[in-house]
Symmetry: C2
Subunit: 351 residues, 2 copies
C-alpha cells in the first residue's frame, strides 16, 4: 500500500476498457484516533475487471465528501459499520456507464450509487440508480443531501407553515439545504449557526437565513434567543452538544427536534456531555427524533423535484465546492471536517 | 403563620357550615433549597366562606401526594408555576359536596378537583369534576395517576403489542401503573427499576413485572440488558439522569421514550448531567417525547374505565399507601420523596 502523500496519479492513463484495466481508489490506511489527517488514507492502483453478466462498469464523474464518513473511519461509539483498513472508502458518487452487460443500463446512462472514492465501479446493475441529467443544471447536484434535509424537516420534525426553524451547522451541505428548504416550505423565520464570521455572513447573504450567529461566541442560548426572539419551533440538529442544549432552552412548547448529526462529537465519540436541561422537554412537551436518510428513500423523487424546481426558479442557491482530482479527496475531506468549506463538497474526476 | 411542628389540629372542631367557619390548610412556609423538610410547611387555620352564587363547598376526603409538587416548591429550573410562600399548596383531591349554590352540583355529589392540601374547598362548580363513586372500589383510586401512565404509554410512546417496556421509578405511583398498564395492553415484556431490594421484589411479586433491578447497584446498562436481553422498545422515563442514559444504550432501533418525570433531578434542578450518548438516537432512530397529563385530558374516561375494569377483574393491583390526617401530609410528602413508600400515596381526611 502506498502512503497518500507519496502517491501521484498524474501519469496514469485511462483504462483501455477492452479488458481488465486499472483504476485508482482511495483506501483507509489507518484508523484516526481523533482528527483524521491525509496519512490515514492511501491512494491505491487496482485492477478494474470487465463487467460479467448482469453487471456494468461505471466511470465516476463526481464523488461526495460526507462528514458522516468520519464516523466509519474509527469507532467513536456510533453503531454503524466501520470501513475496513486497507479497503476502499465507500461513498456516494455519480458516474456514467461505459460498459454494460445488463439489459437494465445502457452505455451513456448517468447513475447514482454508493461506490465512491474510486475512479471505476463494477457491480450488478441493481446497485446503480439511473439519474436524469437534465433535472439539475449540474450533475454534481445529485450528490446534494436534499433528501436528508427534506426528510429531517418534513418527516422527522413535522415542519408546519409559520414555524421558526433553527439549523446548526448551517454552512454545511445538509444545514444549508435545511435552512433553504425550511424557508421555501413556509417557515416563518429561519436562523442558523456556523463556525466563523464569514460563514455567518454567507448564511444571511447567500442562503437567505433571517439571522445567524457564530457558535464560538459562547452564551449560545442568549445568541439563539436574539436570533429567534419568538422562540424556536423546529430545531434541525447537526451538532448535538452545547447547541442542542441551547436549543432545548429556547424551544417553544410542542417544539420538535430532528437529530441528524453530531458534529460536536465527530472526533470525540459518544462520550460528549449530553444536554443537562433535557428535563425541560417534559414541561415544554418537546419531541426529539433521530433519523437516518435511508429510512426515507421513498421521498427521493418528491424531494429532488421540489428542490430542483426551486433551483430552476432561482429561489435556491446551489452551495457547492468542487475539488478536482481523486488524489485531492483525502486532503479535501480533512479540510472539510476542519470547517474549510461551505455547502456541499464534491470531487470531480473527469480528466 | 404557625410553623408546622408546633401546630396541632386535634382539638379543632368541624365547621358548623351554617355560616363562615374554619378549616385547616397546609401552606408552603419556605422554599426548600434541596431536600424539603416538614419545616418548609405550615398548618394554618383559615376561614371557610359560605359558597356564593354558582359555588359549592366541598369537604375533602382524600388528598393526593405528588412528587411533581416538589418542582413547584422552589425553582429547580423547570418552567412551571411555583407555589407562593404563605399560600396553600394546591393538589389533586376528591371530596363530597356539603353545600351547593350551583344547579350543577348537589349536596352529596363526589367530586375530583385541584384544590388539595386543605380540609374544605369553596369555588365555582366548574372547577370540580363529578366522579362516579362506584367505578372504583375505593374513592381514593380516583387519585391514582392512571391517565399519566396511560397517556405516556399510548399517546407519547405509541406502545404496540409485543413491545419490551422499561419503566424507571417503577415502585412509584406512575411507574407501577405504567408497568401494569403496559402488560395489560399487550407488552411482550415489562421490566422496571426501583430504589431498594424490597421494592424490586414488590415489582415482580405484586405488580407482575417480568424483571426488575435496583438502580443503586450501578452498571445500569448491564442490569437493564440482563432484564431485557432482547433490548427495549419503549422506555417510560420517570427519572432522567443515568437511567435515561442506560435506556438509550439498550434501546432497540425505532425505540420510543416517554419523558414523564425527572426524579433524578427533583432536588438538584435542571443542571444534572444529561445523557452523554444521545448521539445513539440518530443511528437507532429513537424518538423522545416529553408530555404533560394536562394535554391528554380527553383520554380520561377511556383510561379510567380500562383501568377500573382490570381492577374489577383482579388483573391489576391497586398499589396505594393511605396516610391519615392532614397534619401528617407534610411528613408523608417528605418521606415519599425519600422513597419510603410504594405506589400511590394519599392522605385521608375523614374524621
Amino acid at each position: 500500500m502506498t502512503g497518500f502523500q507519496s502517491s501521484s496519479v498524474a501519469s496514469d492513463q485511462p483504462p483501455a476498457l477492452a479488458g481488465d484495466s486499472v483504476g485508482w481508489q482511495v483506501h483507509l490506511a489507518a484508523r484516526p484516533v481523533r482528527t483524521p489527517t491525509s496519512a490515514d488514507f492511501a491512494l491505491v492502483k487496482t485492477t478494474v475487471p470487465r463487467p460479467s453478466s448482469g453487471q456494468v462498469l461505471v466511470r465516476n464523474l463526481f464523488l461526495s465528501l460526507d462528514a458522516g464518513a468520519r464516523l466509519r473511519m474509527s469507532d467513536v461509539g456510533v453503531p454503524i459499520p466501520l470501513y475496513a483498513v486497507g479497503a476502499v472508502m465507500d461513498g456516494d458518487a455519480v458516474g456514467e456507464v461505459v460498459l454494460s452487460a445488463s439489459p437494465d443500463l445502457a452505455v451513456g446512462d448517468l447513475v447514482h450509487h454508493g461506490m465512491g472514492w474510486r475512479e471505476y465501479a463494477v457491480a450488478d446493475a441493481a446497485r446503480f440508480r439511473r439519474v436524469d441529467g437534465q433535472v439539475f443544471s449540474t450533475l454534481s447536484a445529485h450528490l446534494a443531501p436534499y433528501l436528508t434535509a427534506w426528510a429531517g424537516l418534513v418527516d422527522a420534525a413535522g415542519l408546519t407553515a409559520g414555524d421558526t426553524v433553527f439549523v446548526s451547522g448551517a454552512a454545511g451541505a445538509v444545514g444549508g439545504l435545511a435552512g433553504q428548504i425550511a424557508r421555501l416550505k413556509g417557515a416563518g423565520r429561519v436562523v442558523g449557526s456556523a463556525g466563523s464570521p464569514a460563514k455567518v455572513a454567507h448564511l444571511v447573504e447567500k442562503l437567505g437565513f433571517d439571522a445567524a450567529f457564530d457558535y464560538h461566541d459562547g452564551q449560545l442560548a442568549d445568541r439563539l434567543r436574539q436570533a429567534a426572539p419568538g422562540g424556536v419551533d423546529v430545531y434541525f440538529d447537526n451538532t448535538g452538544g452545547p447547541q442542542l442544549e441551547a436549543a432545548i432552552e429556547v424551544m417553544n412548547p410542542h417544539g420538535r427536534i430532528a437529530l441528524c448529526g453530531a458534529l460536536a462529537s465527530q472526533n470525540g465519540g459518544a462520550g460528549a456531555a449530553g444536554p443537562s436541561n433535557l428535563v425541560l422537554a417534559i414541561a415544554k412537551r418537546l419531541r426529539l427524533r433521530g433519523f437516518l436518510t435511508s429510512d426515507h428513500l421513498g421521498r427521493t423523487d418528491e424531494a429532488r423535484d421540489e428542490v430542483a424546481e426551486w433551483l430552476r426558479q432561482g429561489r435556491r442557491h446551489l452551495d457547492e465546492t468542487v475539488v478536482d482530482g481523486l488524489e485531492n479527496a483525502p486532503r479535501a475531506f480533512v479540510d472539510m471536517l476542519g470547517g474549510a468549506y461551505t455547502g456541499k463538497v464534491v470531487v470531480r474526476l473527469s480528466r
